[in-house]
């Protein structure tokens, strides 16, 4: 084993492992918090466990005890219960209830810490906030063979073991109760009538969030916990529309965040020529923010860019179709060739004319335009949809015939075949104004109503 690898194993492996495990559990559980609009519960819990930690520490006098874990977990669950109590019985809005509970508990913790510090106790709020990933190191085995004998497991620090257990439990919880978590978050009323008590399922979720928070503390600090409960889930929310993919994506994003963040924290200072190191938990949090920003901007469906492009394309499409429709109606009434219609704003209609010409739908230049044969087909399909919708709205939906034109004007642009008015039996051949409905040869929509 080379020295470089040994150094990595000794110094970097455990912090990396701890951060990844913490991020993984929080990312997994965070999905359900975000969906239930309780994202800030993680924030509240992570602040509020401080007094639990300090009290347990003052009582038992050691940092390496189960007592501390239990103390913090109790404080975490108490936070959830208090918030719920204040919200329900005090009729205080949930945000304010959380604000009250976590700030008071945190203040209590700070005060207790100060008292503890007076006794020269080695515990401070900074490590709770920022984490002490740097302190996680061990003497890795020198030989590869030693790695396989599993004796080294005994050398692994307690924090990492706790995190591994919590990560495993979280994974098992989400996997086993996936369907219950889904229904309890989506429709608590139905869940309860089906014999799945939504309150109990959500309570269990909160207990696990508290456990994950507490386990993550010593290693990665509360700020990373808050970030990991919200950011990966939010990132996944931008990328997917189904719960299972969302959970998987968020877990992957969380783990990737931890690894990338750790890499950035250890490599960036060298590149920037800084002497010391950068706080790893903070770097991971910022990485989470960066990944989320990328997702928000570039997500294929819900991203800001994709939506802007879609909006723009739709606007162009509508303008082109309006132009074709106007030309078709002109032709129907006997006049061939027309100037660019001025119903739409001038620049927009010029743009539409340009696009239509480029697609070979209209011919002619300058202010006079004519439909090409291809343009005629498209326009006929368009007018057909428009008049079918009018017929549908009057015959089936019972609208008055002088009210349907505007609605049909909007509906005609729908290209989704299934959203066309499927009139049972035979489609009408006259619209409510008595005009004929052109036949269904519409190159834009190969599967038209006729074939359906």
């Amino acid at each position: 084993m080379s020295d470089a690898v040994h150094t990595f194993l000794s110094i970097d492996l455990l912090p990396l492992l701890a951060a990844t495990l913490a991020a993984f559990s929080c990312g997994l559980l965070g999905n359900f918090l975000v969906l239930r609009r309780l994202s800030l519960m993680g924030d509240a819990i992570s602040h509020a466990v401080l007094p639990g930690l300090v009290i347990a520490f003052l009582l038992f006098g050691t940092r390496a005890s189960l007592a501390m874990f239990v103390g913090a977990a109790v404080a975490g669950v108490a936070t959830v219960a208090l918030v719920e109590l204040i919200r329900r019985f005090g009729r205080v809005e949930p945000g304010a209830a959380m604000g009250v509970v976590f700030s008071v508990l945190f203040a209590l913790g700070v005060l207790l810490l100060e008292q503890a510090a007076a006794r020269n106790v080695d515990l401070d709020a900074d490590c709770v906030l920022h984490g002490q990933l740097e302190t996680l190191f061990w003497v890795a085995p020198r030989e590869w063979s030693a790695l396989f004998s599993l004796d080294w497991l005994r050398e692994v620090p307690r924090q990492v073991v706790t995190l591994a257990i919590v990560a495993a439990v979280s994974l098992a919880f989400v996997a086993a109760l996936f369907k219950e978590l889904r229904i309890a978050a989506f429709d608590p009323g139905l869940a309860t009538t089906q014999g799945i008590p939504a309150g109990a399922v959500n309570g269990l979720l909160m207990v696990l969030v508290a456990a994950a928070t507490v386990a993550s503390f010593e290693a990665v600090g509360s700020i990373l916990v808050v970030a990991m409960l919200v950011c990966p889930a939010a990132t996944a929310r931008m990328l997917t529309d189904r719960l299972l993919p969302q959970v998987v994506v968020s877990a992957i994003v969380a783990a990737a965040t931890a690894i990338l963040g750790y890499g950035a924290a250890s490599l960036l200072p060298h590149w920037l020529g800084l002497a010391g190191s950068v706080n790893a938990a903070g770097a991971m949090t910022v990485t989470a923010g960066v990944l989320l920003t990328i997702a928000v901007i570039a997500a294929p469906r819900h991203g800001v860019l994709a939506r802007a492009v879609r909006r723009r394309r739709l606007a162009t499409q509508v303008q082109v179709e309006d132009l074709l429709g106007a030309l078709f109606r002109k032709a129907e009434s006997g006049a061939a060739g027309t100037t660019v219609p001025t119903a739409t704003p001038h620049r927009a209609s010029l743009h539409a004319a340009r696009i239509a010409r480029r697609r070979g739908l209209v011919s002619g230049d300058g202010p006079t335009l004519d439909l090409t044969p291809a343009g005629r087909r498209v326009a006929a399909g368009l007018i057909r949809r428009h008049r079918l919708w009018e017929a549908f709205l009057v015959d089936e939906a019972g609208w008055r015939s002088d009210h349907v034109h505007e609605a049909a004007e909007t509906l005609e642009h729908l290209r989704d075949v299934r959203r066309q008015p499927l009139v049972p039996g035979i489609a009408p051949d006259r619209d409510p104004h008595g005009r004929s409905i052109p036949g269904g040869a519409d190159p834009a929509r190969p599967r038209s109503e006729d074939s359906a």
Binding site: L40, V104, A107, I223, R237, V278, T285
Partner: protein, 453 residues
Amino acid sequence: MTPASITDVTDRWPGWGQVLDTLTLQAGFNTTVVIVGTTLLGIAAGVIGAFALLRKRALMADALSHATLPGVCLAFLVLGAFGVAARSLPLLLLGAAATGVLGLLCIHLLLRHTRLREDAAIGIVLSVFFGAGVVLLSVIQSRPTGNQGGLSHFIYGQTAAMSRGDAAFMATIAALAVLAALLLAKEFAVVCFDDGFAAVAGLPVVAIDLVLMTLVVLVTVTGLQAVGLLLVVALLVIPAAAARFWTERLWLLLVLAAAIGGLSGYLGASMSALLPRKPAGAVIVLTAGAVFACSMLAAPNRGVLAAAIRILRTRLRVASEHLLEVLYERERLAPAGGAVDIRRIAVARGWPGWRANLVAMLLSRRGLVERRGRGLALTGLGRAAGARVSRNHRLWEQYLVTHAEIAPSHVDWSADQVEHVLSEPLVRELEAALRAQGIDVPAARGGMEGATA
């Protein structure tokens, strides 16, 4: 008492004279300025927090305060690079305000352009900005020249570290914020209550919101030094939430929130001046928290105890009336029936056994029923009460059926005696209608006429 006393860490408790001096602002100029400044800060936070709470923006302040950390650090770094004296409070706070506002802007953009909800947006901004701050802090620490220059005071707050000038600065800003909030109280109130209406009425809702958030930023940023960025949100939220329990009126809400905030600030700063190892921020928040707890429990109308008593009373009243009615009607249908088994009543009413027993016990203590073994029977007094209840229910029933254009949610028919709410001719009409159906209505005085008919 020297000005240094505020930083003097001893483990002795202060004497009474010292306590009195501090509380009456006689304990040296520095201490006094800090206490006055913190009190003013509390008042400002109370007033502005009340509006923020009503506008449902309470936790935005949390995101805002966390987002100030990178600003403070950046300002520190920039100042250091230009060789300016590293601790120029207004400039550091300017940096804090800048990133704080940037954080708010991010929340706004996330809400506007993505499918994420408010809670998620707040959580994201809060954690990511704070994480950036932590990174910058560690950068500052690792610089060869670098000490943090007391930057961590901004996280936890420390009145002890405040200079006279700092405290005066804080007091001025706080006073200005209160003044602005009071001048705009009317506009804030309309926007908080119904922004749609405000917009239609021609008020510049966006601008008013902007002013409100600016005031929140001001209070948050000035509060950083005293209570720290982790707890400054408490100063905004808790006094307002506590005051909300006591009143439904806006002006009173503002006054109470200001009072609670001011009291918390005053006590917090005084105690931290007097006692060793009592960080002002924590004491301030705990004081406010204690006021909140008392308010929530004991407030007369919206308080939890009052509500619990009210619910219990309603339950018992409804149950008592049910029991009296059952016994009364039983007696009327089968005059020789004797006592009724309490278990039968429980089953018929769908009550658990203990509830039936509890109600029976309460009624027998009031002398309305008597227990004969497992059986229950009305006393003379109880019979009269039963008649009254029965009459009342019958008439209300008839009223709801024939005059139901009144939404029933306006009628509390088990509490309101029919005669107290409805006019006498209407009551007679109802009585007549019931008699026409062959249903007895006990007479108004609660006597035995109806029962024995």
